[in-house]
């Protein structure tokens, strides 16, 4: 790892100021992506601004319909939060299957979505739940936030402070985990609210997380796994790598979508 200067921010404003004053700052929350990248010298910030101690960025609030999760809330906290267990257990299930217990004690929802790894779990949930990503400057709809592989709509120095969404009537998540890394080789989050169904796919798209509109249409009429019989995903826009071909991922997406619908009940 190259040398770096560490700062512990006391508030969001403090963090923004520290970042603006540094040559090449990076924010760190759980560090479960950034520290490994710095160890490999894939990232070499001059300054690290630690957001993990900012009280305003932590915890879950459920204000009757609107749920807000602070960006610094860890995967373990999301997995075990009682309000979320009641409002959207699929999200707790998702968080409980990220990496391993040690990673879940440190890694956060804010760090995960800011990173937008094409195989990360949270982006699928955010897109399917039609969440809004709250920053220190504005709110961004999930559909506009995730813009490509490891790319987001965040400006330089912009800080994700929370995510907001309305609890769905029903939701489910299923992933086929890479046996070594546990990241998604295909992960599907389905959410049903009123008559509309949203289906978001991670781990498979060659440009990151995406919505599967044909699956949404099929499920809108009949919210059951069998509604997906005969549905397909075009492998042309899917990733192909040593773990799985695009054709295999296309088949996995349908299989995971069926499991997600079954889990949603």
């Amino acid at each position: 790892m190259y040398n770096v200067t560490y700062h512990r921010a006391s508030s969001v404003e403090d963090a923004a100021k520290l970042a603006a004053g540094a040559a090449e700052a990076k924010f760190v929350l759980g560090g479960q992506t950034l520290i490994p990248a710095m160890k490999q010298r894939l990232a070499a910030p001059s300054d690290l601004i630690d957001l993990r101690h900012i009280a305003a960025m932590k915890g879950v609030t459920d204000s009757g319909g609107g749920i807000i999760i602070g960006a610094a809330t860890t995967h373990a906290e999301v997995a075990s939060n009682a309000d979320l267990q009641a409002a959207c257990p699929a999200l707790c299930h998702l968080a409980a299957h990220i990496g391993d217990p040690h990673v879940r004690h440190m890694g956060t929802i804010g760090g995960s979505i800011a990173n937008n790894d094409p195989a990360a779990d949270y982006p699928a949930a955010m897109l399917a739940l039609n969440a809004r990503i709250v920053t220190n400057k504005r709110e961004i709809a999930a559909a506009d936030f995730f813009t490509g592989l490891f790319e987001t709509a965040l400006d330089e120095g912009e800080i994700v402070t929370a995510v907001k969404f309305t609890a769905p009537a029903k939701a489910g998540y299923a992933k086929f985990a890479n046996p070594a890394s546990r990241y998604a080789m295909a992960g599907v989050f389905v959410a049903r609210s009123g008559g509309s169904v949203r289906v978001a796919v991670t781990g498979a798209g060659d440009n990151g997380v995406f919505r599967a509109e044909n699956l949404e249409a099929a499920l809108a009429g009949n919210f059951s796994p069998s509604a997906l019989d005969g549905q397909t995903i075009d492998p042309a826009n899917l990733m192909s790598d040593i773990h799985a071909s695009a054709q295999y991922r296309a088949a996995l997406v349908i299989a995971m979508a069926k499991r997600a619908v079954a889990a949603a009940g």
Partner: protein, 163 residues
């Protein structure tokens, strides 16, 4: 350079280190606590697991400066006059061969038992919870047996208290 102060195994310690120093290296090199191992460069093996403020974390994936002000428990802090029940169970059930993964396995196991409550583990849960700990020798079978036995022993209150 930063001045770092933390409580390690119940003792207040401070030292100065570069900001890039990993907690694992701070423990091993500044404090001489070489029980914490470093087995990979990719945050995957879990040989480095310690407890920070009561939670298992990978000390190779946290900077010492991030841990400034925390309470850290390493493998060296686990035993009292007797071995901790998890350590005793690993010995009894032959839960190690070369021993390289063992400190991380034991710190992961104590965290697992604390979170689920002694006596509340089954084989499937233990295997799932060991996702972040790799062993190249044992095939895991005796590690799982040892953790289940320790969990039962701790439920019966055999000897020591939970870590």
């Amino acid at each position: 350079m930063s001045e770092v102060t933390m409580t390690v195994n119940g003792r207040k310690v401070s030292g100065s280190c570069e900001d890039r120093t990993l907690l694992a290296h701070f423990l091993r090199e500044n404090l001489g606590l070489t029980g914490t191992h470093v087995g990979c460069d990719t945050s995957q093996c879990g040989a480095c697991v310690v407890h920070v403020d009561g939670k298992a974390v990978k000390s190779c994936t946290m900077l010492a400066v991030q841990a400034n002000g925390t309470d850290v428990m390493t493998i060296e802090g686990l035993a009292g006059d007797d071995l901790h029940p998890v350590q005793a169970a690993f010995r009894e059930h032959h839960g190690l061969q070369c021993g390289f993964c063992t400190p991380g396995m034991i710190m992961a196991a104590t965290d697992m038992i604390n979170r689920h409550g002694p006596g509340n583990l089954d084989e499937k849960t233990v295997r799932g919870e060991l996702e972040g700990n790799i062993c190249r020798c044992t095939g895991y079978h005796n590690i799982v047996k040892a953790i289940l036995a320790a969990s039962e022993a701790m439920a019966k209150g055999a000897g020591a208290k939970a870590a």
